[in-house]
Amino acid sequence: MSDFHLEIDGNKVGVKEGETILEAAQQAGIYIPTLCHHEKLEPFGGCRMCIVEVESRGRTKLVVSCVYPAEAGLVVRTRSEKIDRIRKTILELLMAHAPDSPPLVALAKEYGANKDQFEKESSFCIHCGLCVRYCEEVKKNYAVGFVDRGVRKEISFIPEIAAKVCNDCKECFPLCPTSYLQATFVLTESLAFPTVP
């Protein structure tokens, strides 16, 4: 049973109180691209790929659908020239890090993003935070976390914890849109616990 209705790309969609636009769209089978979203995790609002246009009380604005609460009567557009342009820029920025990541390559095709638009960066990590948040919110292991801020921000394993829990879990590995996470763990493991030759 839905509490109220809103309109997404011309379709009338029923939603429950407290749901986000993204959840409403997903239930109605309307696709909105995401990179940092995971249904088991709190909305993060980091990648900004799920940006959509909403019209409410005569005003149009851009919002990210993974956080924005669905309201009765809201008119949502998931594609427009402007939305596509912003998604393309976001993809081009992320492909400076991970030009061959399969999900990014697929989205780049859709939005006409050029993987060489910006100068390449050394780290693959796109800071979606899926590993960190999954480890914290779902597994409650706190084995991997963020360090530093801004352009120096990275993910980092706590060796003492990783040594105890990670080998039996590794549930975060398939979440990573790039291969960076696994590489970081392997590195942590080899540095902290070198195998005796």
């Binding site: 909305p43 993060f44 609002g45 980091g46 990648c47 900004r48 940006i51 851009l62 919002v63 990210v64 956080v67 924005y68 609460p69 402007k82 342009r85 912003i86 820029t89 976001i90 920025l93 992320l94 400076a96 890090h97 638009q117 910006f118 100068e119 960066e121 796109i126 800071h127 963020f146 530093d148 801020r149 801004g150 352009v151 120096r152 921000k153």
Partner: protein, 640 residues
């Protein structure tokens, strides 16, 4: 100390303080703000105390370390009451003379007075100095009259009378209505009307609410909040308690940035003093209203000036902004209604309550009421804090109060609003200063930083500087800000270093649009402003850098060369001796030549070449003329 339990007791207490003070007793006020302390105010204060003791005047003269009056450039500042004689740039060595001459003999020490550089006229009183004369100082005026560590000084100047009036003479609703009527807009950033923000919190269902002072003054080049918090901490407290009463909050927080230790010290002391008098705590002035205040120190992160990041930091977590689309006055600190205003906004509240919203709305323009404190810095003669009515023109601030641009240079632009603001060019100097006016011009009010730039400032470099600042301060959570600014900084650096290419401006515009439209918080959304505004008004400079590899301001190191004009060089050897890398060839009676291979473009030769020769020039965008052949370098000096 005994508690003050009612407005009547407060009044009696105030009269008691005043009765003990003879207005004719000489009082020496020495600015003890961070700026003057950096200029040696501590030693001056110690010297006064020692000299007064030595001359046996301890019973007849009062000295006090006060807050910052704003004219930091000329500190340490000493004002002697009751005559209000103002001495500038005072050192410990001047102290005996001041005591002997001014205190004992009532004569003015001429050489310590302000001298108008234009007319040579001296100003005896603070109010005669043009820098002060053209201001309207309602908020910052008490800074110089109050010992910033004394609650009695604040009480003597009617301190806490607005609190008494609000708590016992007005209902909480009436207080809110008065603030709403005043149309006081937030002095920290976007200029949101304070009363409407307060009303939202007040009407929120959740019972526990908070009021918060944002003293995370992070904009480089702005220091008015530091001056207020250090100089007159009780005025902020008084405003905060009144705000708490209006919205029904019983707890207040003051978030002070880590770089301001003196502000933390003074506000912490002020809270203790107010607590001892019963002006904070249970049943304030017998009104039944309880209120407590907690000081929280920042740990060095510009993004914590953003409201939701500040609140997460207050909760003891990493200061990342929240992605939620819920206003913090409804769900803020610990998800409860929280009113966050900056220091200057809170400092206006007691004035509005005491003098009324009608008084407040007389000052300013239609959309921007009251006065605003600006921090006038950069290439300007009178650097310091200026408080002016909203609606004053930029020209009046920069030329009437600021005294214009030093060294006869031409004004180029003024950057307002901090890193998120923009640059306003010379042809818009008539712009009236107000929240909406500045936004329309492509800049913003922000917290009131005003950085003046002259003809030597490269506007592409200015954009690069601010984007670099924000790249460093981005929290790193969202892509358009973290990655977008990173790439913008790379492109802007390339342009200023002569590696710009066709298409760079378009790529910058692409990145700037994504940051403005899609960033998570105000930092990212406003980060492209310095780029947008410099491109809007100075596009030709961008194009010159990219296409001609030329810096029109002759500022970008990689794009300029220093060249000695052989016709003007008199072979005086000054530049050759001062050059730190020995890049200047030549000797006595031999025309000097810059070795372009060795030159590091530090500019020392340009600065030291005597003005009467003026032989060193800066060249950009064209090849350096070939050095004249060695055999033509000898000059025979003509006798006069």
């Amino acid at each position: 100390m005994s508690q003050i339990n009612s407005p009547a007791e407060l009044d009696a207490f105030r009269k008691g303080i005043l009765a003990k003070r003879d207005p004719e007793t000489p009082c020496i006020s020495i600015c003890a703000g961070a700026g003057c302390i950096a200029s040696g105010a501590d030693e001056v204060i110690a010297a006064f105390e020692a000299e007064i003791g030595a001359q046996g005047l301890a019973a007849n003269v009062v000295t006090k370390g006060t807050g910052c009056p704003g004219f930091c450039e000329r500190g340490p500042i000493v004002v002697i009451y009751p005559e209000e004689i103002c001495y500038l740039g005072v050192t410990a060595e001047d102290v005996p003379e001041i005591i002997t001459e001014t205190i004992k003999e009532k004569r003015v020490v001429d050489r310590l007075l302000f001298e108008d550089p234009a007319t040579g006229e001296k100003a005896v009183h603070e109010s005669d100095i043009p820098f002060y004369r053209n201001q309207e100082r309602n908020v910052i005026c008490n800074n110089i009259k109050i010992d910033s560590k004394s609650i009695d000084d604040y009480l003597a100047l009617d301190g806490y009378s607005a609190l008494a009036k609000a708590l016992t003479g007005m209902t909480d609703e009436e207080v809110l209505e008065e603030v709403k009527k005043s149309n006081l807009r937030g002095r920290g950033g976007a200029g949101f009307p304070a009363g409407i923000k307060w009303e939202g919190s007040r009407n929120a269902a959740e019972k526990t609410k908070y009021v918060i002072v944002n003293a995370d003054e992070g904009d480089p080049g702005a220091f008015m909040d530091r001056a207020l918090l250090e100089g007159n901490p009780h005025s902020i407290l008084e405003g905060l308690i009144i705000g708490g009463y209006a919205i029904g909050a019983h707890e207040g927080y003051i978030y002070v940035r880590q770089e301001y230790p003196l502000a933390v010290e003074n506000i912490t002391l002020a809270i203790e003093q107010a607590g001892a008098y019963g002006l904070i705590g249970k049943n304030i002035l017998g009104s039944g209203f309880d209120f407590k205040v907690i000081v929280h120190q920042g740990a060095g992160a510009f993004v914590c000036g953003e409201s939701t990041a500040l609140m997460t930091a207050l909760e003891g977590r990493v200061g990342e902004p929240r992605p939620k689309y819920v206003r913090s006055n409804i769900k803020g600190l610990w998800n409860r209604p929280s009113v966050l205003n900056n220091v200057e906004t809170w400092a206006n509240v007691p004035l509005i309550i005491n003098k009324g919203a009608d008084w407040f709305t007389q000052i300013g323009t239609e959309g921007s009421k009251g006065t605003k404190i600006f921090s006038l810095v950069g290439k300007i003669n009178n650097t310091g804090l200026v408080e002016v009515p909203m609606g004053i023109s930029l020209k009046d601030i920069i030329f009437k109060i600021g005294g214009g641009i030093p060294n006869g240079k031409a004004f180029k632009a003024v950057q307002t609003g901090g890193p998120s603001g923009g640059c306003i060019p010379a042809d818009q100097l008539d712009l009236e200063v107000g929240f909406d006016e500045l936004t329309r011009a492509g800049s913003m009010m922000g917290s009131g930083g005003m950085i003046v730039m002259d003809e030597d400032t490269c506007m592409v470099d200015v954009a690069r500087y601010f984007i670099n600042f924000l790249t460093d301060e981005s929290c790193g959570k969202c892509v358009p800000c973290r990655e977008g600014l990173r790439q913008m900084h790379k492109i802007l650096t390339d342009i200023t270093e002569g590696n710009g290419k066709e298409g760079d401006i378009e790529r910058l515009e692409q990145l700037a649009e994504a940051a403005r439209e899609a960033s998570l918080c105000a930092l990212g959304k406003s980060a492209p402003n310095p780029f947008f505004s410099t491109l809007r008004y100075f596009r030709d400079e961008y194009e010159a850098h990219i296409r001609e590899k030329r810096c029109p301001a002759l500022s970008c190191k990689e794009l300029i060369a220093y060249y000695i004009d052989p016709d003007k060089c008199r072979a005086c050897m000054i530049c050759a001796r001062k050059c730190p890398v020995n890049a200047i060839e030549g000797g006595k009676k031999t025309i000097h030549v810059v070795d372009q291979e060795k030159c590091t473009r530090c500019g020392t030769c340009f600065e030291v070449c005597p003005a009467r020769f003026n032989a060193v020039t800066k060249i950009s965008g064209q090849p350096v003329p070939a050095p004249i052949p060695v055999k033509e370098r000898t000059i025979s000096r003509k006798s006069k």
